[in-house]
Amino acid sequence: MQTDSPFNRLATATADTVTIEIDGRPFNAREGDSVAAALLAAGCIPSRTTPVSGSPRAPYCMMGVCFECLVEVDGLANVQGCMVQVAEGMKVRRQSGAREMTVGDFHEAV
């Protein structure tokens, strides 16, 4: 699912394919990609909106500093996408606004 991402792969890069889900749709990332890199390669921009003003955001520093790439990974919200590597079957969801406390959060924690 290479879309109209402004980010291109280097032709020399070779790596195995890892299939993840982004917002329920399959995407072929590469082994060793961070989630943030996969989001950029997939053209998933913006990758979230901010909690207070709703302004659009996308991965930026790619090294764990700026927190712009916060994303839901396997049900856990506000994960720094640039600090997590993709894994086969991983489910990534883009966030809209503040993290929601789901019924699951309450029940599991209780």
Partner: protein, 375 residues
């Protein structure tokens, strides 16, 4: 809005030492009554209780051994909507005032019973007009579904609420500037000298200003300043540590004494009390205790990230109640100090300003004289 300029930069009607919530609430009220006001704010080296507090507009249980304080807290809560609206009109800032009631969670049955007895006594003292309910754990959860099952219960009062204390401080400063108040900061006040014939000279390193009236609202700084004016302010620091979570969609409806969700989604956890002098740091031990207690109250917090923690120093008198006093030796000099700069903000901007201006007010401030403390 009329902007009053100081036509003579060397003098002012009222000088206020301290640009925190107490000083700025007084200053705003004085400007609203047409006074020329100069605020001296020390600078970023100051201890600044107003930048680390919790933001409760709280009534239930406050003043259990001092009915005058209970009345004052309640009066201020009643006056808050008008002050918040006035600040919003002046600045456009919504300080997130919400007064839809508050819960006080008790983890143990003993604590719940003692609290219920205390509130019943306060209700009796108030002639019955002091609304509260005692809730079992199940009743508390019906009101606030995010609460866990490992609590004894809660007390509920419709009198309580909260606001964003940083937005409040910002709004007060912006409104103060817009109404022509003068802020002098970064230069600590070196000396205050009563002038023969009336008024006070405030001495800075490079300049001097004359004020007709002078108010000490310098928090912990009042202790050293008060004796220069024949006043007494035996305040001591008491540290509270506060934790902040990542932003979450609203899932906590009511503030409590320990946990509240802010208007912008973070959850604020706190209410530690430590005597550690002027140390504004944090400790892993206290942070752990605060977090563990909050998780017991709201189990979902276990899966939430903390993003920030800080320590701030409460300004405590020996009995915890405010000092409002005019100097007998130098009339026109006052000390105004308390640890509830948020809750009492609306009283400070209203009735306390009337008191400073010598007007009749329908509350008694005699109970708040520092004469109650030994010299």
């Amino acid at each position: 809005m009329s902007v009053r300029n100081h036509d003579n930069p060397g003098e002012t009607d009222v000088a206020i030492i301290g640009g925190g919530l107490v000083g700025m609430s007084l200053a705003y009220g004085l400007l609203r009554q047409g006074k020329r006001v100069t605020v001296f704010d020390e600078g970023d080296q100051a201890l600044r209780a107003s930048r680390g507090n919790f933001g409760l507009v709280w009534v239930q249980g406050k003043g259990d051994t001092c009915p005058e304080y209970a009345r004052l807290s309640r009066l201020s809560a009643r006056l808050w909507p008008e002050l918040a609206a006035s600040l919003q009109q002046d600045t456009g800032i919504d300080i997130e005032l919400r007064q839809q009631g508050g819960l006080y969670i008790c983890l143990e049955q003993d604590a719940l019973r003692q609290r219920a007895e205390m509130l019943a006594r306060m209700q009796q003292q108030a002639g019955g007009d002091y609304p509260f309910e005692v809730l079992s754990a199940a009743q508390a959860r019906a009101k606030e579904p995010a609460l866990g099952s490992d609590i004894a219960g809660a007390t509920w009062s419709p009198m309580d609420g909260h606001l964003n204390p940083l937005l409040l401080l910002n709004a007060l400063h912006q409104a103060f500037a817009a109404r022509g108040g003068r802020l002098i900061n970064g230069r600590p006040v070196q000396r205050i000298q009563p002038r023969r014939g009336g008024g006070f000279d405030v001495q800075l390193s490079d300049t001097r200003l004359w004020a007709n009236q002078l108010v000490l609202a310098a928090g912990l700084g009042n202790k050293a300043l008060a004796p220069q004016l024949g006043l007494h302010a035996p305040v001591e620091p008491n540290r509270g540590q506060v934790l902040i979570t990542e932003r979450l969609r609203p899932f906590i409806s009511y503030p409590t004494g320990h946990v509240r969700q802010t208007g912008e989604g973070t959850v604020q956890l706190g209410d530690s009390k430590e005597d550690v002098g002027l140390d504004t740091g944090t400790t892993a031990e206290e942070i752990g205790k605060i977090a563990a207690r909050a998780i017991r109250m709201y189990p979902a917090l276990e899966k939430v990230r903390l993003i920030r923690a800080w320590g701030a120093l409460r300004v405590m008198t020996p009995d915890g109640y405010p000092i409002y006093q005019q100097s007998a030796q130098y009339p026109g000099a006052y000390v105004v100090t308390c640890h509830s700069g948020v809750t009492l903000g609306a009283v400070h901007a209203g009735p306390l300003v009337d008191w400073l201006l010598g007007k009749d007010i329908d509350i008694s401030l005699e109970a708040f004289s520092a004469d109650r403390f030994p010299l």
